[in-house]
């Protein structure tokens, strides 16, 4: 256990340095307009802004939906393509193929495909579904964040699929075999064996995807709406505000983002322990 703590500390050291500096910036000890003394004024002011809470909620909602989307697709892929036939292998390869694509490229591609003058709109016009590209429902810079959810869901799918494939192969196969020997049908096997194994195995990876999606700047900046601004975009906007006095707000917002990610990890741990207790 102590070994784990040390290693975690080492891995987390850049985050800890950032955390300490953000805290110093948020409380007026360091950064622009710092007086070297501790004050909660900035934190109070930032947290009293409605725009900040809307931004946080928007980011939570879109990141959660993108994670659910990617997770469902990964479960589906893992459940469907698990044989060793050529088709199965081709499908699994295809599923993990987008893994090395950088997020920035994925976001730029999404903007080009989903924009009102994008590929999708042009295809829709050619197919006669709409008469002009402008009639295409906005999927980029849109308030519901559909473009962002689709782009992040697509980008995170291969990562979760990779985890799902290995979970099924290492933990599921033997149990399923046993279930079948005991006379379970395909549906029963899926619901009673494959699905529980998958969602427990996918949990940590899904938490990582959520935390990443909530903190990812490129996709949010290229696809997110102007109002509310996604939390990473709002943080960056404050960090580069023309008014130097407002730049420190970014530290409060990064702490908020960190709190969100930590909160989700804690929630996941709690759920896991609860489930384990119920199982035991």
């Amino acid at each position: 256990m102590r070994r784990g703590v040390w290693l975690a500390g080492l891995v987390a050291s850049p985050v800890i340095v950032g955390l300490v500096y953000s805290f110093a910036g948020a409380t007026g000890i360091a950064g622009f307009g710092a007086h070297g003394s501790y004050t909660l004024d900035r934190i109070r002011r930032v947290l009293s802004e409605q725009a900040v809470w809307e931004s946080l909620w928007w980011t939570v909602r879109t990141s959660a939906l993108a994670t659910v989307l990617a997770g469902c697709a990964a479960v589906l892929a893992a459940a469907l393509f698990r044989g060793t036939k050529t088709l199965d292998r081709a499908a699994t390869t295809l599923a993990v193929l987008p893994l090395p694509i950088p997020h920035l490229v994925a976001a730029a591609t999404a903007a080009l495909v989903l924009g009102q003058s994008g590929l999708l709109a042009r295809v829709a016009v050619t197919a006669g579904w709409i008469s002009a590209p402008a009639q295409m429902p906005p999927l980029v810079y849109d308030r519901p964040g559909i473009g962002l959810i689709l782009a992040l869901g697509w980008k995170e799918f291969p990562f979760l699929a990779l985890v799902a494939f290995s979970v099924v192969a290492t933990r599921g196969a033997a149990l399923e075999e046993t279930a079948r020997t005991l006379g379970a049908g395909p549906w029963q096997t899926f619901w009673r064996v494959t699905w529980p194994v998958l969602w427990r195995g996918l949990g940590p990876a899904a938490v990582a995807v959520f935390a990443f999606a909530a903190g990812s700047y490129e996709t949010a900046a290229l696809l997110g709406p102007s109002d509310p601004l996604p939390l990473p975009a709002l943080t960056y906007e404050r960090y580069t505000d023309a008014d130097l006095a407002r730049r420190g707000d970014a530290f409060v917002l990064s702490l908020l983002g960190l709190l969100l990610a930590t909160g989700v990890v804690a929630l996941h741990e709690w759920l896991r322990h609860r489930v384990r207790r119920l199982d035991g």
């Binding site: 070994r3 040390w6 290693l7 500390g9 080492l10 050291s13 340095v17 360091a30 950064g31 622009f32 409605q50 725009a51 809307e54 924009g115 009102q116 003058s117 994008g118 590209p133 402008a134 906005p138 810079y141 849109d142 308030r143 900046a221 290229l222 709406p225 102007s226 109002d227 509310p228 906007e237 960090y239 580069t240 505000d241 023309a242 008014d243 130097l244 407002r246 730049r247």
Partner: protein, 422 residues
């Protein structure tokens, strides 16, 4: 692969000891970085004759933090300027990304960390100069010492003042630009020529106009503020809160009035001018804008805009400003930076930069002050048919006002126009 649990634990124990040592090294090196003394810029440079400055610069490297968003500008800096300063002054010039707010943050953090400066030369103007100067992050005065400063058009109000601030030797002018709208003359044969005509045009063409959220967009709003309040003259002479309180509501009213007919009904705005250019190029809107009246020429040449794209000046006047280079107070090599800045001011470098096929950036030199040979070459280059004629540029040019106007309009636009949920 085939490792037993016990083996894994043993290996991890070895890792643990190493991890502890690594962590200690990391903490030590971090604190060491924090304590390192900054290299003070040679204060005695000011007293040195120019020959000694160039001698000191020889064999050094200069890091130039600048906006790296335009391939034409990058090509001019990397492939035209850099080889020449290497050849003539034996200076290795490296241009790296870093501009505006990020630059101010970077220099501030370097100072807090007492770290060695990461930039010798920076590309700045307006509120960046304002913030750097106010925070004491610039070295100077130095720019009046450059031999080529004698050719600078110091009578031009655009060059003599940077957003009404006196450069005071802390930045050296590099180029001038003037704001222009960009439209496609094939798509829009008779474009609006004033803000009033633009409002009418927007209503007649719903969804076909918008402006961006960054520098060009704010300039567009600032010009609108001049136009709706009887011209720029009232806003000159420093920041005036009461005047701003009287003048800005007209801007918000104008924007609210056209909003339903804007692109996306004014619900969303492109984050930067690059995104606005893309909307224009993809025929999603009919106008884009630029702080450089000649950008349309280079974008046509790059194939991004149709050949029929043109720049347009509104009769209410468009903002002209100059951009400068400065030397951070933490610059490790101020002598090298000064020599590069002087080369940037040379007639040769200024003429090359002004060519439409290179960058089309306006010169800061006054041809009258130049040697006859260079004067002739500048006059010959002035008449590119694709560019806006010089006399109309001068006629509609309006100066920048105090940077606080820019900052407040940007902040209030976000709060009043962009936010709709309140």
């Amino acid at each position: 692969m085939g490792m037993t649990g016990a083996e894994a634990v043993r290996i991890d124990r070895g890792h643990r000891a190493r991890a502890v040592r690594l962590a200690a090294v990391l903490v030590l090196s971090l604190s060491a970085a924090g304590c390192r003394e900054s290299t003070r810029p040679a204060a005695d440079l000011a007293g040195l004759p120019w020959d000694s400055v160039t001698a000191r610069a020889r064999g050094t490297a200069v890091t130039w933090r600048m906006w790296r968003g335009d391939p034409a500008i990058d090509a001019y800096v990397d492939r035209w300027v850099a080889p020449r300063v290497k050849q003539r002054f034996d200076i290795a010039l490296h241009a790296v990304e870093g501009q505006g707010p990020e630059l101010v943050n970077q220099l501030q953090i370097e100072r807090e960390a007492r770290a060695r400066g990461s930039a010798d030369l920076v590309w700045i103007n307006g509120e960046t100069f304002h913030n750097l100067r106010r925070s004491g992050l610039l070295y100077g005065p130095w720019s009046d010492r450059l031999p080529n400063a004698a050719y600078v058009d110091s009578a031009s109000p655009t060059i003599r003042r940077d957003f009404e601030q006196n450069p005071a030797g802390y930045e050296s002018p590099w180029g001038t630009v003037q704001f222009a709208l960009i439209y496609d003359s094939a798509r829009t044969p008779s474009p609006p020529r004033s803000y009033a005509e633009l409002a009418a045009w927007i209503h007649r063409h719903p969804g076909r106009f918008t402006y961006d959220q960054s520098f060009a967009g704010v300039t567009f709003l600032k010009q609108l503020m001049y136009a709706l309040n009887g011209g720029v003259a009232r806003f000159q002479g420093g920041w005036n809160e009461r005047l701003y309180q009287q003048a800005s509501p007209k801007v918000w009213a104008w924007l609210d009035e056209v909003r339903p007919a804007l692109w996306r009904r004014g619900d969303a705005y492109p984050p930067g001018v690059a995104e606005l250019h893309r909307l224009f190029a993809n025929d999603e809107v009919d106008f884009t804008m630029s702080n450089n009246q000649n950008e349309v020429v280079s974008k046509i040449r790059q194939g991004l805009f149709p050949p029929t794209a043109r720049a347009l000046l509104l009769r209410d006047g468009t903002i002209a400003n100059a951009h400068f280079v400065g030397i951070p107070a933490s610059a490790p090599n101020p002598a090298g930076a000064m020599v590069v800045a002087d080369f940037l001011l040379s007639p040769e470098a200024q003429l090359e930069k002004a060519k439409p096929e290179v960058w089309a950036d306006g010169t800061v030199l006054d041809p009258v002050r130049l040697p006859a040979e260079w004067r002739a070459r500048f006059e010959a280059a002035a008449g590119d048919p694709r560019a806006l004629p010089r006399d109309s540029l001068a006629r509609y040019a309006r100066p920048e006002v105090a940077p606080e106007y820019h900052e407040r309009i940007a902040a209030d636009w976000r709060a009043r126009i962009r936010r709709r949920g309140d």
